[in-house]
Amino acid sequence: MSDVKFSKEHEWLKMDGDIATIGITKHATEMLGDIVFVELPDLGSNVKKDGNAGVVESTKAASDVYTPVSGEVVENNQAIVDDPGKINNDPENEAWFFKLRIKDKSELETLMNKEEYDKFAKESGN
């Protein structure tokens, strides 16, 4: 899908009007292993580009989730809080993390497209 963007912190982002849906990439879930816990940003809170926006924990370790753009949290996905295993099963569709109403679309410009991200993930190896 051409409208999906990716960050160097292994988040994906999909725009619909001024709403961005954000999750973590399949590559990220493969690095993390089985996810057993997720913490999402509070509804109505404002998150800042590259800032902390939640946590995922696998059986092995905890990792911060960052947001690739700034915005107000308008929705968060309780289904993955209740069943974190969904993140491993379908990270780039059903198991989205949160939705943001964004103000500054120029922030999207620094993000990668699918091809660039795949190359980045392969080369960085992390």
């Binding site: 292993g33 089985d34 057993v36 816990f37 946590v55 924990e57 696998s58 059986t59 905890a62």
Partner: protein, 367 residues
């Protein structure tokens, strides 16, 4: 230092292992299906663990050796039967723990299974304590595998006749491919199972054979979640050279007779800790929320004072809850005591709970 590969390295690789360096060895942390599947498979079926990195120490000797080992280990070795195993620890004079181990009385001496990271040091310490009087072999010609889970007994019996008759924490010699191999009914997962000591040349054959009967390879990741659900200590985390067996709540592993009479290294400290108590104790702690408190997480009381630290913490795939072990000041060690765990700068409610988190299904004969 070059990293060591066990004889099952190629087999691990074939099954999609992700490797991590562990105590100088390249060990599989998980295979392609992941830690949760591996964990649950061990609880419901049977898992195969490569524990060849652990030390297999044989000390040759008779009654004199038994006497000398009783000066080192707090066990009633004179009264354990042939082929019986005991969990114990190697301590210093201050009763701090060099290592925890399983010792088995065999026909012409004792077998001791040691942690990989400690085995070389343990060997030196024990050799010195025994004044170099006995033949000691830290055997590198032997591999060690564990098969654990409710179906372990039936599957193993399909391949090797006899181990089903073993009581828990007992071993014996069996035959496989013309080789005499030593099998004990033991393990560290909270499940029934066996540990098999077998020649390096035959281990891959046996492992493949077990896999063909339905056993799955299990990595260090699930080994950790399994042992933690079973409430068992991991050396270097829950016990180390700054903890004593009494602080670690391992008094059960010290023979009653030896507690009365002493005569082993560390006895004075242990005796005084039993009589006057310890400042801190190892406990199980259950967070109320689905929050995972990892090693080094600070434990607080309701007055915001630090009262201890977590030493192991993960999510228990079978009990579907986070689980932790840690040390708290002794006055906070009673069951159901409310504490707070600081995770990512926020404090979460938790309480001291019973161990194990997961109920064991060992066969009879355990003691």
């Amino acid at each position: 230092m070059e990293i060591i590969k066990t004889k099952l390295y190629n087999l691990h690789q074939k099954h999609g292992a992700k490797f991590v360096p562990f105590a100088g060895y390249q060990m599989p942390i998980q295979y392609s299906e992941g830690i949760i599947v591996e964990h649950k498979y061990t609880r419901s079926n049977a898992g195969l663990f490569d524990v060849s990195h652990m030390g297999q120490l044989f000390i040759k000797g008779d009654n004199e050796l038994t006497n000398d080992l009783e000066k080192i280990f707090p066990l009633d070795l004179k009264n354990i039967s042939l082929n019986q195993s005991k969990y114990s620890f190697l301590m210093n004079e201050e009763a701090y723990i060099h290592d925890d181990l399983i010792i088995t009385k065999v026909k012409d001496g004792y077998n001791i299974i040691l942690n990989a990271a400690c085995k070389t040091q343990d060997y030196k310490i024990i050799k010195q304590l025994l004044n170099d009087k006995y033949e000691m072999i830290l055997n590198s010609d032997l591999s060690l595998i564990a098969i654990q889970g409710p179906k372990a007994v039936n599957i193993l019996e399909e391949i090797i006749k006899g181990p089903e008759k073993l009581n828990f924490m007992n071993g014996d010699w069996f035959k496989y491919l013309d080789e005499k191999i030593y099998i004990t009914r033991s393990g560290y997962t909270g499940e029934d199972g066996f540990e098999i000591s077998i020649n390096n040349d035959n281990v891959e054959e046996l492992a493949e054979n077990l896999i063909s009967k339905g056993v799955k390879l299990i990595g260090l990741g699930a080994r950790d979640t399994l042992r933690l659900e079973a409430g068992l200590c991991l050396y270097g985390h829950d016990i180390d050279l700054e903890t004593t067996p009494i602080e670690a709540n391992l008094k059960w592993a010290i023979s009653k007779k030896r507690l009365e009479n002493g005569g082993f290294i560390g006895f004075d400290k242990i005796d005084s800790q039993i009589k006057s108590g310890t400042k801190r104790l190892r406990v199980g702690i259950a967070p109320e929320d689905r929050i995972i408190a990892r090693e080094k997480t600070k434990i607080y009381n309701n007055d915001n004072e630090i009262i201890g630290e977590i030493t192991s913490g993960t999510f228990g795939p079978s009990i579907q809850k986070p689980i932790t072990l840690g040390y708290v000041q002794s006055k906070y060690s009673a069951l159901d005591t409310k504490v707070l765990l600081e995770v990512r700068s926020k404090k979460y409610p938790a309480k001291v709970c019973k161990l194990p988190f997961y109920k064991k299904s060992y066969v009879k004969g355990a003691n």
